[in-house]
């Protein structure tokens, strides 16, 4: 693969905290290698800003290998940028060419308030998991792991749903800022396994209730969440969630 260097214009959202108004600021970056990751390009810009006595751009990141779900930039109108099923930290600069302009914003959702610049507060997701995204089994209660057989297809589907990294791209991509893909991935993962069946309907009910309380929008089957999800979480999960949720309505567990 040919390596090359490029100069770019960045328009980045700057916002001191959730109480102040933000605005775009324009930066020029020079000599960016096509080998760099997108975040390494930000590292270089930040190092320069610090050397110039300016404040660096705050952004969330940690593992830098696409699994922790911390990084979260909205790049040229797309959650995690243009690469299919790729987190921002795994996006590499060979995507861009000399002279390009890149616009970078934080996740935009009422339920994810801005902490600073590109950093948002996603603790709403933790509260949704607390509401029911688990199997109620205490340590030491378990039977032998092979005592309950699980069909491979179910285990595979459950794993596919479980590969959600909780980054919030689905919310950022959705015009309604709905969290249905996130919630449905957890509901599906656990509902597909025999161990998760006993609580399947109450789980769906409680998680959806919490999701609504957090102020996330409704799902109108647009599909942007699936298209932008860095882990390829499928819309089928939303169908499964609806099934579990309706089940709770029929059994009278839900009020309506």
């Amino acid at each position: 693969m040919e390596h090359y260097n490029m100069n770019l214009t960045l328009k980045v959202w700057k916002q001191k905290n959730c109480k102040t108004k933000g605005a775009f600021e324009t930066y020029q970056v020079q000599n960016i290698s096509s080998e760099m990751s997108f975040l390494e390009m930000f590292d270089i810009l930040n190092e320069r800003l610090i050397a110039e006595g300016k404040e660096p751009i705050a952004f969330d990141h940690d593992c830098r290998e696409g699994i922790c779900g911390t990084c979260s930039m909205f790049i040229n109108g797309r959650a995690h940028g243009p690469w299919h099923q790729t987190t921002t930290c795994q996006l590499h600069m060979r995507e861009y060419k000399d002279g390009d302009t890149i616009v970078v914003e934080p996740w935009r959702s009422h339920s994810f308030p801005v902490i600073k610049d590109l950093v948002v507060d996603r603790t709403a997701f933790d509260r949704i998991i607390s509401a029911g995204g688990f199997i109620s089994v205490n340590t030491g209660n378990a039977v032998d792991a092979n005592a309950v057989l699980v069909p491979k297809d179910d285990a595979d589907d459950s794993f596919a749903a479980a590969s959600c990294i909780g980054c919030g791209a689905c919310v950022a991509a959705c015009p309604n800022a709905s969290a249905m893909l996130f919630v449905s991935a957890k509901v599906s993962q656990l509902a597909l396994l025999p161990q998760g069946r006993p609580e399947a309907t109450t789980r769906a009910l409680n998680m959806v209730k919490q999701m609504d309380q957090e102020g996330f929008g409704s799902c109108t089957n647009i599909g942007a969440c699936e298209a932008e999800c860095p882990k390829g979480i499928s819309l089928e999960n939303i169908a499964r969630l609806n099934r579990e949720y309706l089940g709770s309505v029929f059994t009278g567990k839900a009020s309506s």
Partner: protein, 658 residues
């Protein structure tokens, strides 16, 4: 203080059972009065917080990330070991114990390691019950694969995302306790000091990373589950935020640091591509199940890998270690790669890489599939296609990750790999109860030094983290907390809290007051270079002495010239990082001192002066069969205590994988 590892008496197989039957218990109503602080929410921390919450303790859990689910255990790829013997291939608790002791090059405690092997099976049961979607066979049973340093298949996995699945399982258990009110979660919080009252750990000072405010938190006991310190090398497979700060503050308050020089360099990572590199990415050890490692037999060969004929390839691991081949332990594989590259046989533009090749596996699996599907006259293209599908199911996410980072397709060309810092076997010294030398202060998971000796086997970090959190600490903590039931929580206006907070504030003020010209990142890079060059894969006395001098000078420079932008009372990642790098600069010196003291080679610690004629690690059991436990006395002043290792069951020998 004399070190007492508190290994229970009796035969190896009975120690833990006897301990559990005789340790002190705390009744449920008393548990509700006892407050426990857990720092870190990776596998060890999340499982401990969840398990203790289930028991009824009042738990406060802290993590620097924005959510406990993001701790770096999440990045573990390949799997988790357990002595289940589901494959009927001769595995047992004893074999897992033996492999771990041998893999650790006879520098771990028998008692601890046996307990680890003993509880391993229950971990898998627990995780399955929690809904962890492990890989399964068509019959519905769990699937296994092999890892380095073993000859059985005992590794459970969930594609290349095992750590993620296990952590999410523990995180869910933790969030369940949050909803039940037994655990209070403090994310985006960093522990910056340990609070001691009458010599006992009684709480922490934490900084709210969003507002910058300092907070005082009381606990009858404090559990550090804060991971390893591989980021002292700047470039490592650790997450950007991984740090030693909590453990280091505890060390300076009296917790001894065990075997600080024992660092694991993982053999299969994506090579460095340039000076901009911010971290390194692991390619799971599980790939060595199917990938063959090789270099050209011709020095500085410029041919493309596909143009190098079979007879001109050197499969050096298979050549040197026929019994284990590509599945030798990590330390052995890393050194062998370094040896080939140093000798001029490295591949790629940097010449600091070797090939990891899947062509054979693709062909082998393809043939099996053709046979299964009854395609008697399948052509080579069909075989390759079907083989690639099998490889994709096993390692698809890793191959994609490789392609995104390097721009090369590993289905078509061999991966280029090189060793990188991955894990630290050293850590806070703990006894059998996971207690440090500070009463009521515990260390779990990678944060402690206890189970892996001088080299950790693959898929054993996840096992240890969850063993400590789910199955060990609930018992050993109770044994100590039984004596605390009469002690009421100490109000946080106690002078010890006030003093500790002042200390933290003055350190932050000092950092912000330097007002120099060089960024934190730049100092971190310079520290990393010293550590990698002189305390990395190979070490020698001269280099280590130089490193100590250089680190001291760099530390001086840091405190005179570091520049931290922004304010204290706001979200300020540069300030967070500055505190961590300051601590790494002190730890780095201790690591070099420990490496200098240990005049032998064992596991991941390779002193060039001590090697066999064939270049293998040469232990000096008569002089160094001990754990070095360092006590902090003052700046650059550490005193080494020795815990002699006694082997009652295993007979240490020259480790051989030939």
């Amino acid at each position: 203080m004399a070190l007492n590892s508190k290994i229970p008496n009796g035969s190896l197989e009975k120690k833990w059972t006897d301990y559990k039957s005789t340790c002190k218990l705390v009744n449920p109503s008393n548990k509700r009065q006892i407050e426990i602080i857990v720092v870190g929410t990776g596998l060890a921390g999340a499982s401990a917080a969840a398990a203790l919450g289930e028991l009824g303790y009042k738990v406060k859990a802290f993590c620097y990330q924005d959510s406990p689910r993001r701790a770096h255990s999440i990045a573990a790829q390949g799997g988790i070991n357990a002595a289940k013997n589901y494959q009927n291939d001769g595995d047992s608790t004893y074999r897992l114990f033996y492999d771990t002791i041998k893999g650790g090059d006879y520098r771990a405690r028998e008692g601890n390691v046996y307990r680890l092997a003993e509880v391993s099976a229950a971990i898998i049961d627990q995780c399955v019950a929690q809904g962890v979607p492990f890989a399964r066979e068509y019959g519905g049973v769990l699937s296994n694969r092999s890892f380095g340093g073993t000859q059985v298949q005992r590794t459970f996995y969930a594609a290349g995302q095992t750590g993620q699945q296990l952590l999410i399982g523990a995180y869910q258990a933790l969030q369940r306790q949050v909803s039940l009110g037994t655990v209070t979660m403090y994310s985006r919080h960093e522990m910056l000091e340990l609070v001691k009252i009458d010599g006992k750990a009684r709480g922490i000072i934490a900084r709210n990373l969003v507002t910058g405010e300092l907070e005082r938190h009381f606990g009858h006991a404090v559990l550090l589950c804060t991971g390893g310190y591989g980021n002292v090398f700047y470039l490592s497979t650790n997450a950007m935020g991984c740090n030693v700060t909590a453990a280091w503050k505890a060390h300076k308050q009296g917790a001894y640091f065990g075997n600080p020089c024992f660092t694991q360099i993982h053999p299969t990572c994506i090579p460095v591509s340039g000076d901009h590199q911010s971290k390194l990415t692991l390619m799971s050890e599980s790939l060595r199940n199917d990938g063959r490692i090789w270099v050209s037999k011709v020095k500085a060969d410029t041919r493309k890998p596909g143009d190098i004929p079979e007879e001109e390839r050197d499969y050096y691991l298979e050549r040197r270690y026929p019994a284990f081949g590509n599945l030798v332990p990590r330390d052995v594989a890393s050194r062998a790669a370094k040896e080939r590259c140093d000798a001029g046989y490295g591949v790629g533009a940097s010449r600091q890489a070797v090939y990891l090749d899947f062509a054979f596996a693709i062909n082998r699996y393809g043939k099996i599939e053709v046979h299964k599907q009854g395609l008697a006259n399948a052509d080579q293209g069909t075989i390759r296609k079907l083989g690639m599908e099998v490889v994709k199911e096993k390692y698809g996410n890793l191959f994609e990750m490789y392609e995104k980072i390097t721009g090369e397709d590993p289905y078509q060309v061999p991966m280029r790999i090189y060793p990188a810092v991955h894990y630290t076997m050293g850590g806070l010294w703990v006894d059998y109860e996971l207690a440090t030398t500070v009463p009521n202060l515990y260390a779990l998971g990678e944060c402690n030094f206890s189970d892996h000796g001088a080299n950790r086997l693959g898929a054993s970090a996840l096992m240890q983290g969850l063993a400590d959190g789910y199955f060990v600490i609930p018992y050993t903590l109770g044994n100590a907390m039984a004596d605390e039931i009469r002690n009421k929580p100490v109000p946080t206006d106690h002078p010890a809290f006030v003093e500790a907070e002042k200390l933290v504030q003055s350190r932050i003020d000092k950092l912000m007051g330097v007002n120099g010209t060089e960024s934190v990142e730049s100092f971190h890079k310079r520290l990393g270079k010293i550590m990698w060059d002189k305390c990395g894969m190979a070490r020698n006395a001269e280099g280590l002495k130089e490193a100590i001098t250089e680190i001291r000078a760099l530390r001086q420079e840091f405190w005179n010239n570091v520049r931290i932008p922004g304010e204290v009372g706001e979200f300020n990642p540069e300030l967070d990082k500055a505190g961590r790098v300051a601590d790494f600069m002190e730890l780095g010196e201790l690591m070099c001192m420990d490496a200098l003291n240990r005049e032998e080679s064992c596991g991941g610690h390779f002193r060039e002066e001590y090697q066999t004629e064939e270049g293998e690690a040469l232990r000096q059991d008569d002089k160094f069969m001990y754990v070095s436990a360092w006590e902090f006395k003052g700046e650059s002043d550490f005193y080494m205590h020795k815990e002699n290792l006694e082997y009652e069951v295993v007979h240490p020998s020259q480790r051989s994988y030939k």
